[in-house]
Symmetry: C2
Subunit: 189 residues, 2 copies
Amino acid sequence: MTRPIAKQDFPVHQVRRYLEPGPIVLITSCHAGQRNVMTLGWQTVMEFSPSLVGCMISAGNHSFELIRQSGECVINLPTLPLLDTMVRIGNCSGAEVDKFEAFGLATTRAECVAAPLLEQCHASFECRLHDDALVDRYNFFIFEVVKAHVAPEPAHPQTLHYTGNGVFVVAGDRVADRRELFRPELLDD
Amino acid sequence: MTRPIAKQDFPVHQVRRYLEPGPIVLITSCHAGQRNVMTLGWQTVMEFSPSLVGCMISAGNHSFELIRQSGECVINLPTLPLLDTMVRIGNCSGAEVDKFEAFGLATTRAECVAAPLLEQCHASFECRLHDDALVDRYNFFIFEVVKAHVAPEPAHPQTLHYTGNGVFVVAGDRVADRRELFRPELLDD
């Protein structure tokens, strides 16, 4: 069991720092007394302000209707110590298992949404559905991050990135600072 | 100057292996005798078959109209040796600079599109515009990968992932195989 990670408020327009690198995330949801958690690797940042994130959530997931009906979710960022737990979460269904209980996931109440924050994750981003224009055609949800909670350290956690076929690569072991090659106006996060 | 990387045909329905981890990519484009190359970190896999990739391409980029007008592009995957070149590509505009010449980018003709393949990249994915429903509202293009070229080795190259503010993290130094925790039907790539 991994320990809870203390987090602080973080500016919502800067969540790209954690989501743009493309990590696997854990999406929590809650609707009408049911809650669930799922893994997701198909997401992208779409705008700084409002802070928009696009997520492909397959309709086959138990979480799909919880998210669609509630119009809310939390995007949680797991890191290397949570690898096996994350894989197990992605390999069972909330229709059959209470994943929070089965995997010992400690939760905290969110401020703006009903879905819970995962304490063992490095960051948690509370989201409200911003645009469902592509949900019917592609299962593509555009969320707005309305509240962000991030552990102050490390600045670059070891995140998990899925390559398919059961294999993950880790990012964050090596950090490359190239600020000196940037135009100043591109550094204003 | 980095050397050309020999590539082989690769199944288009498996490009998630390279794109799902969320690396910075180099998008090449060509329209009416003009060509360009830009950096992109805001993209996501959207479907295996057809092989769909969603890309946020800001309208402020010189490449935007080349891609919109031609309905085509190539998504190229740079790796660690190309880091500084990639940063320089992202910090100037094709409206002012011929980036291929300025940065010594060797190119090969693509098979299905007019945009060129970048020889110094690990992989190149030829794309045609599949759906422009969200281009006006969000600058979000949904492309279909119609042809894929990938270097056979290494299986997990050192890819570059942007965190904002001029800082990148590298993925691929550490690889974690968790196939034994997966349901068999989730391993059929």
